[in-house]
């Protein structure tokens, strides 16, 4: 079989299985196993457990369940709700204040968790009914929560960047440093957008009335219970950026610290810990098993010459390197609408990584760009995680169409953010240069 035929039949049959609802892990895994058996003989299939065992016992990957666990503990401990309450009191008085507060709370939360589910669900339960009650524009209300919650996967500690760093063999500390400013840039874009819309047309997002606002002293008091968690985050991220601790160690201590803090503050009972563990198990399965399956698929594809084929196709086309970069971004946006981010990283990074280095782009810069791009995948229908999460908890009067329309404007902002990061590479590279000179 020629490599063209293999490419078409492999990706075609995988897509077919995916469309029929077979989980990504098993779709990729089956196609990988069947093609290996057909092209290299049934004995070659015995490589499968070796590959899975390699991933299972990977030290870096252990940071994924640890960060997820930390997020689950903080969520059970009601930290997201506390942060929202605090920011809400401080900024609720602005026009569009509740939406702004939602984005800010999500951004702060994103610095503590590496996934999107926790913020998305909690904010959908607390902030969305609040905004509807205050007659906020539905699209601003849903969009701010969708976009804000998605920051969780970009702003460090990010689970996405751990997977990326593992697959691409690049430093997770540098990727984390690189993702910091783009995350803040996106949060800033969302807030500016909300404010402009609401100042032009105050009906879209009325400020909370003066009589409902708390006095300054009470507002300051609201900040105190959040201090321990804040310090914990600085410790976790600081030690990773300064290269003192490996991400896995920082994640482990972060998880331990989160249990201690929420336990001492009396917000976490044994039952909460058990639930947090079970949610961690489910979320880790989603990430790890998808990695297992996709690894079998892509490892075979590269072994039969798929990597060289894709490189030849893109680099050999003689196009300008920026055009090639744009083609890659468009491929990622397209895939993001259909496949989840783990699958995309596992399938695309082994193919794109060598090309990026060949074209002379900075791998760290591209890695963060990749993550900024994949953020959009959470909001692009038909397969957008954030849309499902919010729909799952939203009040009945919010329809799926409302959520999709709300996502549209913020999707545009994410695209603007992506373009800015491409045009001004310093947005990504400034912080890594600061921490990792030379």
């Amino acid at each position: 079989m020629s490599i063209e035929t293999i490419t078409i039949t492999m990706f075609g049959s995988m897509m077919l299985l995916l469309m029929m609802g077979l989980p990504v892990a098993f779709s990729c895994g089956t196609v990988g196993v069947v093609f290996t058996a057909l092209l290299q003989g049934p004995m070659a299939v015995s490589i499968v457990p070796t590959r899975i065992f390699g991933l299972m016992t990977n030290y870096l990957l252990a940071a994924i369940p640890l960060f997820i666990f930390m997020a689950c503990i903080l969520e059970r401990g009601g930290l997201i709700a506390d942060i929202y309450e605090m920011v809400y009191q401080w900024f609720g008085g602005l026009k569009g204040g509740v939406a702004t507060a939602s984005v800010m709370a999500c951004t702060m939360m994103a610095a503590m968790v590496g996934v999107i589910g926790a913020s998305e669900v909690t904010m959908g339960v607390i902030a969305l009914p609040e905004m509807l009650k205050r007659r906020y524009d539905k699209f601003i209300a849903t969009g701010s929560i969708l976009a804000g919650g998605t920051l969780g996967i970009l702003i460090p500690p990010s689970v996405m960047l751990i997977v990326y760093g593992m697959v691409d063999n690049s430093s997770i500390g540098q990727l984390y440093a690189g993702a910091f400013l783009p995350g803040l840039l996106l949060a800033g874009l969302y807030i500016v957008y909300i404010s402009i819309r609401c100042y032009i047309n105050p009906i879209m997002g009325p400020p909370i009335p003066k009589e409902e606002r708390l006095p300054l002293s009470t507002r300051v008091k609201l900040m105190f219970p959040l201090l321990p968690a804040g310090i914990l985050v600085f410790l976790v991220l600081g030690t990773i950026w300064l290269g003192i601790a490996a991400p896995t160690e920082a994640a482990g201590v972060g998880a331990f610290g989160a249990i201690i803090i929420t336990f001492i503050q009396g917000k976490l009972k044994w039952k909460g810990i058990v639930e947090a563990c079970e949610n961690t198990l489910k979320s880790s399965a989603m990430v790890l098993w998808t990695m297992f399956g996709a690894n079998i698929f892509v490892a075979f594809y590269i072994m039969v010459g798929g990597g060289a084929f894709v490189t030849q196709l893109l680099v050999g086309s003689g196009l300008d390197r920026w055009v090639i970069l744009w083609i890659m971004q468009l491929i990622l946006i397209f895939l993001g609408a259909f496949i989840d981010w783990v699958g995309i990283i596992m399938l695309c990074v082994p193919l794109f990584g060598p090309i990026i280095r060949k074209l002379g782009f900075d791998p760290i810069w591209f890695g963060v760009l990749f993550a900024v791009n994949l953020q959009m995948s959470f909001l692009t229908p038909p397969f957008g995680y954030a849309l499902f999460y919010l729909k799952g908890v939203a009040p009945k009067e919010v329809t799926t169409t409302d959520i999709w329309k709300g996502a549209a404007a913020f999707l545009g902002l994410q695209f603007v953010g992506l373009v800015l990061c491409m045009v001004f590479p310093e947005i990504i590279m400034a912080v890594p240069r600061l921490f990792y000179r030379g």
Partner: protein, 220 residues
Amino acid sequence: MFLSGRGEVPLPFFVIGICFWAQTYAEGAWGTAHRSWDMKALRTFMMAVDKTNIFIGKLMVGVTLLAVTVITFEVAMRYLLKAPTNWGHEFMTLLFAIFYVAAGGYAHYYRAHVRVDVFYATRSQRTRAILDLITSVPFFLFSIVLFYTSWQFYWSSQTMEAGAQVLGIPIPGERSFTDWGPAYYPIKFMMPFGALMLILQGIVWFIRDVHMVATGRKLS
């Protein structure tokens, strides 16, 4: 390849087993000769698989907390007391290896494995059950291959002569090459075990889907 070598469970037993349950069930659901003991046995089997996977999930609470404690202990020893252990990192990594494998069947019980919901999610329950029945062919293909290959993988690890001794008696089994040198075969045993739990959970979903297609109702 699946029938050669030692220490294997013969594949035909699995296939026959699956067919037997499916056939037994079909008789119970559609057949004129409805035999209640068939249904009872089937329900017991389904309950047993569901409960086992839930129980494994509960066990993982302990594994998670242990792993978090171990890594924190290691960090404290390394950075505060300057006396790193030679087992902390590896122990935690191996605990998570067990964790991931156990998560497979557990997540399948909750149908939590990531799907692409473009076409699938908008169908009726019955159509989804039909799609599931069709895709169960590749699912079982993958999980059974996973079971067999990882069983071989485990068995070669179990029978490897690594020179380990207990009280002067040589004991077989692969060991890690690190300073600490823990036995690898219990971890590798978890792989066929995890694949087996995945297969069993897949069979339970298969039965539920058959019931849905046949009757249009959920099986309680």
